[in-house]
Symmetry: C2
Subunit: 200 residues, 2 copies
DNA sequence: ACAGTAATGGCACTCAGTGCCGTTGGGAAG
DNA sequence: CTTCCCAACGGCACTGAGTGCCATTACTGT
């Protein structure tokens, strides 16, 4: 796998030729399966997005939008225990290698679109309207800042971090217009909050 | 200016040689001033960030964090009227050309860091903690979704759109845990809100 | 005018990505 | 078993971004 090479040698230090050679295929063939070197660490992302769409569509209508979206991102980021170390390495690359950080944006755009489409339908507005688009960005931010923390601690679980990240939002805006986040309890208590606690 | 060529011919259709030649300098020299072709539309972003740091530092201590950050992003995105058409073209490229969308992420990371550093100081936590990082993402999302709308309408002003985008957050989380954003007044009324109205 | 230094830009190289096209391999039909 | 056909394969050559090296040029102060 190309991942292995990236992890061992570094992304920039591994050429496409190296990967093709290691995979026992021609360089030209590799580019027929992956549109760019940057896409190699991503695997089949579109499949994950399709799962997320399906998951969202299956949620009860009366589940509040924020909760629905939160449930979806939790589900989206669920992995079998044995894949987690691998997933960690993958995310480490994606969030730290500049070329991949940049390229990932394009994937995130598709991800945000799934969120935005769902939010738009719920809100009864166009998919390219301000609210659904903003919501897409917000949940992407929640996910990525949680991932960032997750990578910082070998023993961390992602779900509580996602909850904490969402809790930051609640603390910032929930306490009413007079209280900045400086006032209320900081969301830093997050990881201490039990699973589900932040999800109303 | 390289911008002019990108606007006329398209980003991908303009080679670095074209630009260097048009600028009357050698290709090698161009790469000494700009680390990559992708950086050309950005100009001196770091200077803008420095201004934002200064602006934030000068704000009164008792201004709530959200309001402080909002004021900063409004200030950051203020341009002289005569530069606005140019700025529009620039942002159109940055938000629509895939290579630039991807690359811009690296600039946004630095931008988010300014936000996060300020938030961290205010909250009394580490700059790489969950809350400030999340806050950085949130305000980036607010900015970019506002820009996206701005580009959709030739006659739009950015500031009301920024206010509306922030209002989306307020409506999602301000109304208490029982009300999804579906309940309250949609932030779509945003552009109608007068300047300053959303900034408590 | 001149020495010293910084900026310039030509040259050649690496690597990603692409178009073209000949080769191969594995059925399906005879 | 042979032949035909189609799709996958992969070599080759090309473009374009980005970089190291180094000779040349332009500018500085003396």
């Amino acid at each position: 796998m190309a991942l292995q090479l990236f992890i061992e040698r570094g992304f920039d230090e591994t050429t496409v030729d190296d990967i093709a050679h290691a995979a026992g295929i021609g360089r030209r063939t590799l580019f027929r399966y992956f549109p760019s070197k940057n896409d190699l660490p991503w695997g089949d992302f579109e499949a994950g997005l399709q799962d997320m769409r399906t998951f969202l569509a299956a949620l009860p209508e009366d589940l509040p939008l924020v909760d629905a979206l939160f449930a979806a991102i939790v589900d989206f980021n669920r992995f079998p225990a044995e894949e987690i170390p691998y997933h960690r390495k993958r995310m480490e690359l994606l969030l730290n290698v500049p070329a991949l950080v940049a390229h990932s944006t394009l994937r995130y755009a598709a991800w945000r679109e799934v969120i935005a489409d769902f939010a738009a339908a719920r809100l009864g507005v166009e998919a390219d309207a301000l609210e659904p688009r903003s919501i897409g960005w917000i949940f992407l931010g929640v996910s990525l800042s949680a991932y960032e923390q997750w990578l910082q601690r070998e023993d961390a679980d992602l779900v509580p971090l996602l909850e904490s990240a969402l809790a930051v939002l609640r603390t910032m805006f929930d306490a009413g217009p007079d209280a900045g986040p400086g006032s209320g309890p900081a969301a830093g208590a997050g990881p201490a909050a039990g699973p589900g606690s932040g999800v109303r």
